[in-house]
C-alpha cells in the first residue's frame, strides 16, 4: 500500500496535465452531424460513466471478499469505491441532462438507461449512508448493498440495446471515427488515471480511520 501511495502524486500530476490538454483536443474534434456542438459533452460524460461502472464493480468485488473472508482491506476498498461511484455518478447525472436538454428538448426522460443509472447511483448513496449512520453490523449489510449495486451495472449498460430508448446505443463508442476516437481515448485515460489515484487516496483514508479507531480503543484499555 505504501508503494502505491508513493506513485499517487505522479499519477495525479499526469492526470491533471491530461485534463488541462483535453479541452483543446475536444475543441479540435469534429462536430457531430445531427447534434453539433452539444455532442462534445460526450468526451467527459462517457468516461465519467465508465468510471462509475468500474467503481461499482470494484465495490461489488471487494464486498464479496469482505463477506467471504471479512478482510478489513477489502472493506476499505469497498467503501472507497462506493464513494467514487457516487462522485462520478453525480457527474454523469448532471452532464447527461445538460446534453439531453439540447439534444432531446427535455432535461430528463424516465426511460430505461437514465432511470436505472439514477437507481444505481442511489444504491451507492445508500451504501455510504449505511456506513455513516448504520452502527454496528452496517459493514456487512452495506457489503450486500454494494453487491446489489454491482449487479445493476450490466442492466444499465445493456438497457439501451434491449429497450427502445432516447439514449444512444452502446454502438456509438465502438463506431467512433478515428478523429473522435483519439480524443475520447485521451479523456478516458485521463479519467482512469484520476480514478486510480483517488481510489488509492480514499483507501488510505479508510486505513487511517481504522487505525485511529484501534488507537482510541488501545488508549481506553
Amino acid at each position: 500500500m505504501t508503494t502505491i501511495n508513493r506513485f499517487v502524486p505522479f499519477v495525479l500530476v499526469i492526470a491533471l496535465v491530461m485534463f488541462v490538454r483535453a479541452p483543446f483536443m475536444i475543441d479540435a474534434a469534429p462536430y457531430e452531424s445531427t447534434m453539433g456542438l452539444i455532442q462534445k459533452i460526450f468526451y467527459f460524460h462517457v468516461p465519467a460513466a465508465m468510471m462509475t461502472f468500474l467503481s461499482a464493480f470494484v465495490c461489488g468485488i471487494a464486498s464479496i471478499f469482505y463477506l467471504v473472508g471479512r478482510k478489513r482491506t477489502a472493506d476499505h476498498i469497498a467503501v472507497a469505491a462506493a464513494e467514487l461511484a457516487v462522485v462520478f455518478g453525480l457527474i454523469v447525472l448532471v452532464t447527461g441532462p445538460i446534453w439531453a436538454r439540447k439534444a432531446w428538448g427535455v432535461w430528463w426522460q424516465w426511460e430505461a438507461r437514465l432511470t436505472m443509472t439514477l437507481v444505481m447511483w442511489m444504491i451507492f448513496v445508500a451504501y455510504l449512508l449505511l456506513r455513516r449512520f448504520g452502527g454496528a453490523g452496517s459493514d456487512v449489510l452495506a457489503a450486500a448493498v454494494g453487491l446489489f449495486g454491482m449487479a445493476l451495472v450490466p442492466f444499465v449498460y445493456w438497457s439501451v440495446n434491449v429497450w427502445r430508448t432516447l439514449h444512444p446505443t452502446t454502438n456509438v463508442v465502438i463506431s467512433l471515427p478515428p478523429e473522435m476516437m483519439s480524443v475520447f481515448g485521451w479523456c478516458a485515460a485521463a479519467f482512469l488515471l484520476l480514478y486510480l489515484a483517488l481510489l488509492a487516496v480514499r483507501v488510505r483514508l479508510e486505513v487511517a480511520r481504522a487505525a485511529l479507531e484501534d488507537a482510541f480503543l488501545a488508549v481506553e484499555d
Binding site: 467527459f44 480514499r202 485511529l212 488507537a215
Partner: protein, 90 residues
C-alpha cells in the same frame, strides 16, 4: 325508431359544423425561409460550458475535500500514537 334517427342527424350536424369551424384554410402560397431569420431555440455553447465547468468544479472540490479529510485523520493518528507511546513508557 324515430329517436335514434333524430340523434344521428343531430350528431352529423354538430360534427359537420365543428369540422367547418376548425378546418384549416387551404394554403394559397409557399413562402421561403429568410436566411438567418431562424435562431437556435436552445443555444448549445452555454450548456457545454456549464457541463465542463461542473465536471472541473466537482472533481477539484472532491480532491481538496479528500486531502483535508486525510490530513485531519493522519494528524489525529499521529497525536494519539504519540500519547500511547508516552503512556507505555511511563
Amino acid at each position: 325508431m324515430r329517436l335514434p334517427r333524430v340523434i344521428a342527424a343531430c350528431w352529423l350536424v354538430v360534427a359537420a359544423t365543428g369540422a367547418r369551424v376548425f378546418a384549416q384554410a387551404a394554403q394559397g402560397e409557399f413562402v421561403p425561409v429568410v436566411p438567418g431569420a431562424s435562431k437556435e431555440a436552445i443555444p448549445a455553447a452555454p450548456l457545454v460550458f456549464v457541463a465542463y465547468a461542473f465536471v472541473w468544479v466537482a472533481l477539484v472540490a472532491y480532491v481538496v475535500l479528500l486531502w483535508r479529510r486525510l490530513g485531519k485523520v493522519e494528524r489525529e493518528l499521529t497525536d494519539l500514537n504519540g500519547r500511547l507511546k508516552s503512556t507505555r513508557r511511563s
